[in-house]
């Protein structure tokens, strides 16, 4: 669909082909369609070994002993390592809190925790060897929810915590707690004509990226190691890997391999340290590839949550107050839990004007699977709950749910519950108007072909469960707010190295960053930025590695903003250098070198009036410019630990959805017919990629609305469905058409006015689908995903 709005005006390089704003195609596209693109599981080396991980079969137990002798004695086995084999005093890792053992020490805290690792000459040999490792477990009672975690006699998941959150949490089994208090919610409640409350449950979602965790570690002659891996953040991995190996960071050389999707699931370490340990021990390259079963244990998941909300409104539809309590289950290790708490609490009011709020969010330590980053974290769970509340309020007030939302929509200048003013466009009401204005899909499309109905267009699909019986249509709306970038005072910077020179008679720019391309298209955008800023056609994107400074994480919708910003910034500095060279060489030939504003465009130095001063080839003849610079967005600050006040976020991203569903009300099966989205992207650097991101994010939200959930047995804390047979993600027959309306309202603080876009569509998609199902069935539906049992009362 067309792009509308107020695009940022770009002067520099705007006439250069393939610059920003164009839908240029992926530079890795050809490699990816021919099967030549090297993913982390595709690495192969002459004499490589296969690594395999032995994982705990129980969720909470003391390890009395581990006997590896039989495994070690097997032919073809080169190494078997346990905690006792770790080479240094650093034996834990973690994103923020280093609470995760590289290999279990004395205790396992969740089902599937790594206990030992094996290297062998064939994966089957490694598996058989692992099966021969004898681990003697003494079972401990499992902690699985808030009640069992905070009971007076509760076992502590982590004894002797000394992290920076322990001082302000009410119980050592709570990772972090963030209250936010603004105004006086109790007083404001007295003004309310209607009050609604509800308890909501959000299931545990898996990122389910298609390329499982994998990589290869190759021991170096200098005692170091080269690691090829799929990750979201090379330098964060490096900081966690090197100390465990006892190596200086420069001896752990990391290169990004092809990444088969991420969605947050690669923010934490998985096989990285294990592969390095085995490679250094055996002196041989070691490849580790998780299969799908292991992948479900190999990365953190989206925090399941319980959310309690109360909202009030006056009879003319104005929100009076909001109170909420959000309990996130972080599982056995901290991972990104503190940041998830920060997002959940600070965005818990949604994109609405509510002056009086009383908010609390906590993350628990339990024996459930560790949870951490997944697309939209914290904000996703909250959006599901507050949007259900908006519908309840609208119903109670007998108002149209979209009009009710529009009436309370925040805008530029609105103060968030943290007291932070929103200082860029916030077109919440406009996005809602746009999705509502889109034409509705025709009714009964299963009959569209004529006389013959088509079960593929009905709930149940190919399974032939209905020919139209019991099918009811519903329509639902939702809108959400997501922060962009790392918040709460984090030094969120990126680094870009840009080189400009003449190669084969043409000016060429080379861009080198450590940004993890995980499929989002950052490499496409970097080339576009370089073309726009440097006026060249030829741009080479170097592979991401640790030979250049950190790019930060490919998460939080931040890479186009932050690493894109870094590339832009370095390019601008390179441009200045190029112009300096030009002035030195040719300044005397034309007065404009000294007086006019100069641009690089189409391979030439031109004045802003369009007069050509020199070819870049001539300027750069015998010269090259090469700069590596860091760039950071505006600083943020921490939230006050008691009041939650503070300018914690740098930017927000907004999307709205309208879902149209058809529900087989008798069987409880759902077919989503259409999922329309309107999103403000600030500036679409690559419109084709922007729409692709929005459609992908929307579909992940659809998945957790109707099918996706990791089911953990509450009695044992064991995962019951670690496979693609029983953890279902949407197929092409489950995914509807997704019309996208892109709005471009520039954020003056951001490069090109752009807005991070990846996560916002995942927020509002889920509650929109739920709202549509409620609309079709009249049921309350306070949990997601909705299963047929919930729709049929069975």
């Amino acid at each position: 669909m067309g792009v509308t709005g107020t695009p940022t005006s770009i002067k520099q390089g705007s006439k250069t082909k393939g610059g920003i704003g164009e839908s240029t195609l992926r530079p890795d596209g050809t490699l990816k369609v021919t099967g030549e693109f090297a993913y982390s599981s595709d690495m192969w080396h002459e004499d490589m070994l296969w690594g395999y991980t032995l994982r705990s079969t129980t969720a909470h137990a003391e390890i009395r002993s581990i006997d590896t002798s039989e495994a070690l004695a097997m032919p073809g086995v080169y190494a078997v390592l346990t905690y006792d084999d770790l080479p240094t005093e650093v034996k834990n890792y973690g994103l923020e809190i280093q609470d995760t053992p590289v290999l279990a020490h004395g205790k396992v805290r969740h089902h599937g925790e790594p206990v030992a690792i094996v290297a062998a000459d064939h994966p089957e040999t490694a598996r058989r060897a692992a099966a021969k490792i004898k681990v003697d477990y003494a079972e401990l009672p499992v902690i699985t929810d808030e009640a069992s975690a905070t009971a007076p006699d509760a076992l502590l998941i982590h004894e002797g915590r000394d992290d920076h959150h322990i001082g302000h949490v009410p119980h050592p089994n709570i990772v972090h707690r963030q209250p936010i208090v603004r105004g006086n919610a109790d007083e404001a409640a007295k003004r309310a004509d209607v009050i609604v409350s509800g308890e909501y449950v959000f299931g545990m979602q898996d990122q389910a990226f298609l390329g499982p965790e994998s990589g290869m570690a190759v021991p170096g002659e200098d005692g170091g190691v080269d690691l090829y891996v799929a990750t979201q953040w090379l330098h964060s991995d490096l900081k966690q890997i090197a100390p465990v190996l006892g190596l200086p960071e420069e001896k752990v050389r990391m290169t990004l391999s092809g990444v088969g999707g991420a969605f947050g699931g690669r923010e934490d370490i998985s096989m990285q340290i294990h592969a390095c340990l085995l490679a250094l021990r055996t002196g041989k390259p070691v490849k580790i590839v998780y299969n799908r079963f292991e992948s479900f244990f190999g990365h953190v998941h989206r925090h399941p949550a319980k959310l309690w909300y109360e909202h009030g409104a006056t009879k003319d539809g104005k929100l009076t107050h909001m109170k909420c309590r959000i309990v996130l289950d972080g599982g056995a290790y901290a991972s990104a839990s503190p940041a998830v708490v920060g997002n959940a609490s600070s965005l818990s009011a949604g994109p609405y004007v509510i002056e009086d709020v009383d908010i609390e969010a906590i993350a628990l330590y339990t024996n459930n699977p560790p949870c951490g980053a997944m697309r939209g974290f914290g904000a996703v769970q909250a959006c599901f709950a507050y949007e259900a509340q908006m519908d309840k309020l609208a119903a109670k007030l007998d108002m149209d749910p979209v009009e009710f939302r529009r009436l309370n929509a925040m805008e530029q200048g609105t103060l968030l519950p943290t007291g932070q003013p929103c200082d860029s466009p916030a077109p919440v009401a406009e996005l809602l108007r746009r999705v509502k204005a889109m034409p509705l899909p025709p009714e009964q499309q299963w009959l569209a072909a004529g006389e013959q109905a088509d079960v593929r267009a009905l709930p149940g699909g190919l399974s032939n469960t209905t020919h139209g019986e019991g099918v009811v249509r519903g329509v639902g709306y939702a809108v959400g707010i997501k922060n962009v970038g790392f918040s709460e005072g984090f030094d969120d910077y990126s680094t870009a190295r840009v080189r400009m020179e003449v190669i084969n008679g043409e000016p060429v720019a080379t861009v080198h960053t450590a940004m993890a391309e995980v499929g989002q298209g950052g490499v496409t955008v970097h080339a576009q930025i370089a073309r726009t800023e440097l006026g060249v056609t030829q741009v080479t994107i170097n592979p991401a590695d640790t030979q250049v400074g950190s790019a930060g994480s490919t998460s939080a919708s931040r890479q186009t903003y932050v690493t894109g910003g870094a590339v832009k910034n370095t390019c601008e500095n390179v441009r200045e250098k190029v112009l300096e060279i030009g002035r030195a060489k040719f300044g005397s030939y034309h007065p404009a070198w000294a007086t006019a504003e100069l641009l690089l465009e189409g391979g030439k130095v031109v004045t802003d009036g369009g007069e050509v001063l020199a070819d870049l080839v001539d300027v750069l003849e015998g010269e090259s410019v090469d700069l590596e610079l860091e760039w950071r967005h505006r600083p943020t600050e921490a939230f006050d630990l008691r009041t939650g006040q503070g300018n914690g976020h740098v930017q927000y991203s907004f999307a709205a959805h309208r879902a149209v569903v058809e529900v087989d009300t008798e069987l409880g099966l759902v077919k989503v017919i259409e999922l329309a989205c309107a999103q403000d992207v600030g500036k679409a650097l690559n419109p084709l990629s922007v729409v692709g991101q929005i459609q992908g994010g929307t579909t992940q939200g659809l998945g957790v609305a109707v099918m996706e959930e990791i089911i953990v047995d509450p009695k044992t804390a064991k995962v019951r469905n670690p496979s693609f047979t029983d953890y279902l993600i949407p197929t092409i027959l489950d995914t509807p058409t997704i019309p996208v309306d892109v709005l471009e309202l520039a954020d003056e603080h951001a490069p090109y006015g752009l807005r991070g876009i990846g996560e916002a569509p995942t927020l509002s998609s889920t509650p929109a689908v739920l709202a549509a199902i409620r609309n079709a069935t009249g049921l309350e539906l306070n949990r997601t995903p909705v299963r047929p049992e919930h729709l049929t009362g069975t």
């Binding site: 050809t30 021919t34 390329g211 499982p212 088969g260 999707g261 593929r456 929307t698 496979s723």
Partner: protein, 198 residues
Amino acid sequence: MRVNFTVNGRKQEADDVWEGESLLYVLRERMGLPGSKNACEQGECGSCTVRLDGVPVCACLVAAGQVEGREVVTVEGLADFAKQREEGCATGACGGGGTSLQAAQQWQAKGTDSQTGEGEELAPIQQAFIDAGAVQCGFCTPGLLVAADELLERNAEPSDADIREALSGNLCRCTGYEKILDAVRLAAARQDRQESGV
């Protein structure tokens, strides 16, 4: 055990194959053809879809020993396969090659965008996937290409419902499938245009 079969028109042999190995493992780890992807190894995602004697199958669910003497086409051979089909002799294809560590290290995304890997001739469905923006992380792409190419081979003008059904065994986590539908429609339209000589 030893296994002999034809891959992309070329005779291949693998030695010391463990009897429990899948065709997928043999292709990826023994024949240097890692294009077919190992996303689930349980037949639920279609990332390893190859043609076995012309029929699309999940390579992860075919025991290596079952392929003895048979013909396999993988994504690496898809362009040649499509070309030969066009020329009327789609009996398999030649070419392909895996990713050595060296090649992986030398990977560079050149600035010519879609023309990267210049000189490489693509099957129409491959070009359509690039042009339509159907590729993000790309892990599902090889399997989807083999499945979509086979669909267009037997149904030159598929309806949207036909496309959805034919690709219902191929999971994609990045795109939400819209651009994949676009790509198949685009390839079908180009095929149609070519055939009608426009």
